[in-house]
């Protein structure tokens, strides 16, 4: 018998007559907090990410300002990002694809997100417009993410319900971190060491 058939037959033998239980889903589906935006902002900041809240009309100005403050001029830009956000900087288009070296050497990347989770302070990218392929938000040392307030879900169950598992996803909760040395948390290992989030209301 080949490995596949043998393993499956062992599994069948081991589980013969075993009944699957009902799944109780009495856990919270929604957040009890009415002000998801504030909760999201607090929870993202908890991870030591930088957070701004601005009216949607001021978005382009704010993006320009935060980039200027960092002296970031060469910015990787995924397809579908509103062009107004990158006026005044060198936008590095990902079409054709930027090389890993391009990404390493640029000053940062700007993306939008597919969904955000208020309770956990998480942003989720799913390669949709303005988000790009996964490497874009990974290799640069600085990630600026613009979160449309309408994208903020209260809870993890609300977020997973909005996402398509067949699209590649990256869930990001703060900058990269490690606790491997004495369980002492250090921000900034291999992913972007700085995460900045602008919430557009």
């Amino acid at each position: 018998m080949n490995a596949r058939d043998e393993i499956l037959s062992r599994v069948r033998k081991a589980t013969a007559g075993v009944q699957a239980p009902e799944i109780p889903r009495a856990y919270a589906q929604t957040s009890p907090t009415p002000d998801l935006l504030t909760l999201f902002a607090e929870r993202v900041a908890d991870y030591r990410a930088i957070v701004h809240q601005v009216p949607a009309t001021d978005l382009a100005t704010t993006v320009r300002q935060v980039l200027a403050v960092r002296n970031a001029t060469r910015i990787a830009v995924p397809d579908g990002l509103p062009p107004g956000w990158t006026t005044g900087v060198t936008a590095l288009s990902d079409t054709p694809p930027l090389t890993p070296a391009d990404l390493k050497d640029c000053d940062g990347v700007i993306t939008t997100c597919a969904v955000a989770v208020a309770e956990t302070g998480t942003i989720v990218l799913d390669a949709g417009p303005g988000q790009g392929r996964r490497a874009l938000s990974l290799v640069p040392d600085y990630h600026l993410c613009v979160v449309d307030a309408a994208k903020i879900a209260g809870t993890v169950p609300e977020a997973t319900a909005r996402l398509d598992p067949r699209r590649p996803q990256t869930w990001i909760s703060g900058p990269s971190a490690t606790s491997d040395i004495e369980l002492h948390r250090v921000e900034g290992v291999h992913g972007p060491r700085t995460l900045e989030v602008i919430i557009a209301t």
Partner: protein, 488 residues
């Protein structure tokens, strides 16, 4: 040390009590462990405490895992079909040797001699790095703690933080010695140490063409794999190379995408004590233009179907490798992970290792490496009743040796015979009470009216090495009851 072959159990691991002695004598190790486990317990308690529905999440997590296991064959077939439809290739491995052969073959087919690796318990379990090395392939561990372990030629001692037994000063010394380009004035500040790892690994990530990973979850209905991590090394490995090989235990399956909503809440809070881990990568087969274009999934049995056949033992297959049970275990806190002789240390290891590798010497001793205090069960996010499973495995260990006489067995039989009848118990008590009249030891302050016995004979010696016992009372309760108590 790490060069010794592993198949769950490290080659030649002694029984737990013997291995524990060495750890108990190491004050620095105990200090490191105490600091680390105390920190992580506090973190976990805070983030679990803010979820009023924690009990309901655990109920759901346990039920989803049980439901998965009940129809595991069906879910695996679905998973295989979905991964294949999404452009991936699925391989099946009955045991460690087969898995290693498959992975080595896939790597060699790419022509590469170096691979980058994301921390994975499954590849640790099968000793993949050693198998690759034997075929001339170098595997670079990229998780910081795994890197520490690899550079030190050490063994991991914790599921989540493999280098938990090392403190910052030890790590500083190791990096200064072993990492090319480490600054001469390197301090033991964790941030500085992490920076060394970042620089050392960055070029490797950007140049890597083959990566090897495990996975935390595999969603059967969509063929989706999920990896949770913190540092970004996982994202690097899962995103940048051209070829990705994921080795995953068959029990990591969950039936539906929706089920993930439960585990994305249970795992980070139980594991690192965070509301959410910094990075989670979710992928399904191959996505044109995004990530590896050649994806292989190796489904690993390696003893899991044996455990699955055991009605009580199979609960160990619910495990999501959070390591909360290690962090609260008073035995683990004092011995560390190496004493368990297995890549799976702590309470979960004590029930998993003997099932995956029943014939190893250390396996027979592991179910006894617990005071059955129940702290592990209390924190387990998928409600594995570890004490109950331990008792069950103790029974199996005892039954396996029935017919072989031993001092313990004789004592247990004698105790059962004596306790089997109140007259026999009473007679034994009367004999004990006779010794109460002997002038044994000094009067006890701990138990007024009794004497301190400082040395016990036979099997009691292990007890009396560090503990006194009170002398027997002049009269058992039942005798007092018969003579005067009942009448009062």
């Amino acid at each position: 040390m790490s060069g010794e072959r592993t198949d769950v159990v490290w080659l030649g691991s002694p029984a737990f009590p013997k291995a524990a002695e060495k750890a108990l004598a190491d004050d620095r190790l105990r200090g490191n462990l105490r600091n680390a486990t105390t920190t992580i317990r506090g973190k976990r308690a805070r983030v679990v405490g803010e979820r009023p529905d924690w009990a309901e999440l655990r109920d759901a997590g346990a039920a989803i895992k049980d439901a998965t296991l009940a129809d595991l064959a069906g879910h695996l077939e679905r998973l295989e079909a979905e991964v294949t439809a999404a452009g991936g290739t699925v391989h099946w491995a009955r045991d460690a040797a087969e898995a290693n052969r498959i992975v080595t073959g896939l790597v060699k087919a790419t022509g590469e001699t170096e691979v980058v690796k994301v921390k994975s318990m499954a590849t640790q379990e099968i000793g993949l790095n050693e198998a690759l090395a034997a075929e001339g392939v170098t595997a670079h561990e990229t998780d910081l703690a795994e890197l520490i372990v690899q550079l030190a030629d050490d063994r991991p001692s914790h599921i989540l933080v493999p280098a938990i037994h090392r403190n910052r000063a030890e790590i500083r010394e190791l990096f200064a010695r072993q990492v090319p380009g480490a600054p001469a004035d390197l301090t033991d500040d964790p941030a500085a140490l992490a920076e060394v790892a970042r620089r050392y690994l960055r070029e490797r990530f950007l140049a890597a063409r083959v990566a090897i990973s495990g996975a935390n979850f595999m969603v059967a209905e969509t063929g989706t794999l999920v990896v949770l991590e913190s540092e970004g090394n996982g994202r690097m490995c899962l995103t940048l190379p051209e070829t990705l090989i994921s080795v995953v235990g068959i029990e990591k399956t969950i039936p539906t995408w929706r089920d993930l909503e439960v585990f994305l809440q249970l795992l980070p809070r139980s594991s690192t004590g965070e509301r959410m881990n910094p990075y989670t990568t979710v992928w399904t087969g191959v996505t044109p233009g995004d990530g590896p274009q050649d994806f292989h999934l190796v489904l690993l049995d390696n003893g899991r179907t044996e455990a699955l056949a055991d009605e009580i033992g199979r609960s160990a297959l619910r495990c999501i490798r959070c390591s909360a049970c290690l962090n609260v275990c008073p035995v683990y806190e004092r011995t560390g992970g190496h004493a368990y002789g297995s890549v799976y240390p702590g309470p979960i290891g004590a029930i998993l290792t003997p099932q995956l590798r029943p014939d190893e010497e250390v396996s027979a001793s592991l179910p006894f490496a617990s005071s059955l205090c129940g702290a592990c069960y209390e924190v387990c996010p998928v409600k594995i009743d570890i004490p109950r499973a331990l008792i069950h495995l103790r029974e199996k260990a005892v039954d396996a040796k029935r017919g072989h006489p031993s001092a313990e067995r004789a004592a247990m039989k004698l105790a059962a015979w004596t306790l089997g009848n109140p007259r026999r118990l009473s007679a034994a008590q009367n004999v004990a009470s006779l010794t109460a009249r002997l002038p044994l030891g000094r009067p006890s302050r701990t138990w007024p009216g009794r004497r301190r016995i400082k040395r016990l004979p036979g099997p009691g010696r292990a007890w009396s090495r560090t503990r006194d016992v009170p002398s027997p009372p002049p009269q058992s309760f039942r005798r007092w009851w018969r003579e005067e108590g009942e009448e009062q």
